[in-house]
């Protein structure tokens, strides 16, 4: 077993995990943060995307032990019950989801794009959606939502 200490959405968490535990399992099964999803078993779909020390990563392709001492942000760390985060609100406004399974990963990736680029343009968004799959929307509304969300964040 490995002792893993994380800060998840601002809260300290101490976990005793098998060495092979993935970060996604630590979040979902041990911390009961089930917003991050497991969509594939091949690191292709991006539904498990969370931030580790401010960077978007696929939590199915990272051992929980590797995140020891790190700051982790999941979809549950955004917004509040009273008000959605501007990026979440943009997905709602632009109908950037249908079944919603890929949405937490899409939003965490979108926030990473904003963090690195600030203002976004459509080619950048389409290129950087490379690692996140959606089987409902055809991506058009996701692209619109991310552009609008980035815009809203710049004007907060």
């Amino acid at each position: 077993m490995v002792q893993v200490t994380l800060r998840v959405n601002g809260k300290e968490a101490e976990l005793d995990l098998p060495g092979r535990a993935l970060l996604i399992h630590a979040l979902r099964d041990h911390l009961r943060l089930t917003g991050s999803h497991i969509g594939c078993d091949t690191s292709q779909c991006g539904a498990c995307t969370v931030h580790v020390d401010g960077k978007a990563i696929k939590s199915c392709a990272m051992l929980a032990a590797e995140a020891d001492g790190c700051e982790v942000t999941t979809i549950e760390g955004l917004g509040s019950d009273a008000a959605l985060h501007p990026m979440q609100e943009a997905f709602r406004q632009h109908h950037g989801l249908q079944c919603g399974y890929c949405t937490p990963g899409m939003i965490m990736l979108a926030l990473d794009m904003v963090a690195r680029h600030g203002q976004l343009d459509e080619p950048t968004v389409r290129e950087e959606l490379d690692g996140n799959l959606c089987r409902c929307t055809g991506y058009q509304n996701i692209v619109s939502a991310i552009l609008a969300g980035a815009d809203a964040m710049a004007h907060v």
């Binding site: 993935l22 995307t49 960077k55 990563i57 199915c60 392709a61 950087e128 690692g131």
Partner: protein, 265 residues
């Protein structure tokens, strides 16, 4: 995933000692190949030795006119590093095109080079630019390092600590992506070095290789269009459901011409 013991040394010497102590152990760099492999139960190491806690594997330095990139530098770090952008822009661009955003935040140059996936991008740049692979035991020229499919000259217990490149502003890596996997169906790196041109091809066969006849063509004053008539060694190419060997040979000429056209642009 099969069970294993997770170890996280702070020093490279400790990592070497652990590797010697546990012959069935695997090293873990960024894990962007390793974790999918473990999850699919394609490997069953007794121990996983993480290199993530070793500070000495990080950073980029300039030494004797060569850029030395620490093995643990992620693709995202290499792509945005001011020294790499200034002195080796082709490598920065290559790193920025590996995998996807999330993979680039975790995957490392050392991990990619040690894995030597036949469709990986980095091996093409190392081979075309005449890079040197620095390990815990020695320095290996790229020409002697990549020995075949997922195979390298690394010996048991040997760990890559850095990769050193000559500075070069006349090199370009062009990738023709498989539209489904986004991996290189064919990737070509062309470099114009003081000692001559070098062309390395990835994705097309069992592992990265140089196109010596193509290099000779460029050194004789040929351009990208002239590469269309230069012979390729058919033994270097493989076919699969994504494309026949003939198709890959044809695309190699086209992608090499595009890479050449982009030199110094």
């Amino acid at each position: 995933m099969y069970a294993f013991d997770y170890l996280r040394p702070d020093r490279i010497e400790d990592a070497s000692a652990l590797l010697a102590e546990h012959p069935e152990a695997s090293l873990l760099a960024g894990g962007q190949t390793m974790l999918p492999v473990l999850r699919a139960r394609l490997a069953a190491p007794s121990h996983v030795i993480s290199l993530g806690g070793i500070a000495a594997l990080k950073g980029v330095t300039l030494a004797d006119e060569r850029l030395v990139i620490g093995a643990a530098q992620t693709h995202a770090q290499v792509a945005s590093d001011p020294q790499v952008l200034a002195l080796l822009p082709s490598v920065a661009a290559l790193a920025g095109g590996i995998g996807d955003v999330q993979v680039r935040h975790r995957g490392t140059i050392g991990g990619s080079v040690a894995n030597n996936d036949p469709a990986a991008c980095y091996p093409a740049a190392l081979l075309a630019l005449g890079a040197r692979i620095i390990t815990t035991q020695r320095v290996i020229e790229a020409d002697a390092f990549f020995t075949g499919m997922f195979a390298t000259a690394l010996k048991a217990g040997e760990i890559i600590t850095a990769v050193s490149f000559p500075r070069c502003d006349r090199a370009h890596y062009e990738k023709f992506r498989n539209p489904a996997s986004r991996f290189a169906l064919v990737g070509v790196c062309v470099a114009s070095l003081p000692e001559g041109s070098r062309i390395a091809v990835t994705g097309a066969g069992f592992g990265v290789f140089r196109w010596h006849a193509g290099e000779a063509c460029l050194d004789a004053g040929g351009t990208g269009n002239d590469l269309a008539d230069v012979p390729l060694d058919a033994d270097c190419f493989t076919g699969d459901l994504h494309g026949s060997a003939d198709y890959r040979m044809h695309m190699t000429r086209i992608i090499a011409a595009r890479a050449f056209a982009a030199l110094g642009r």
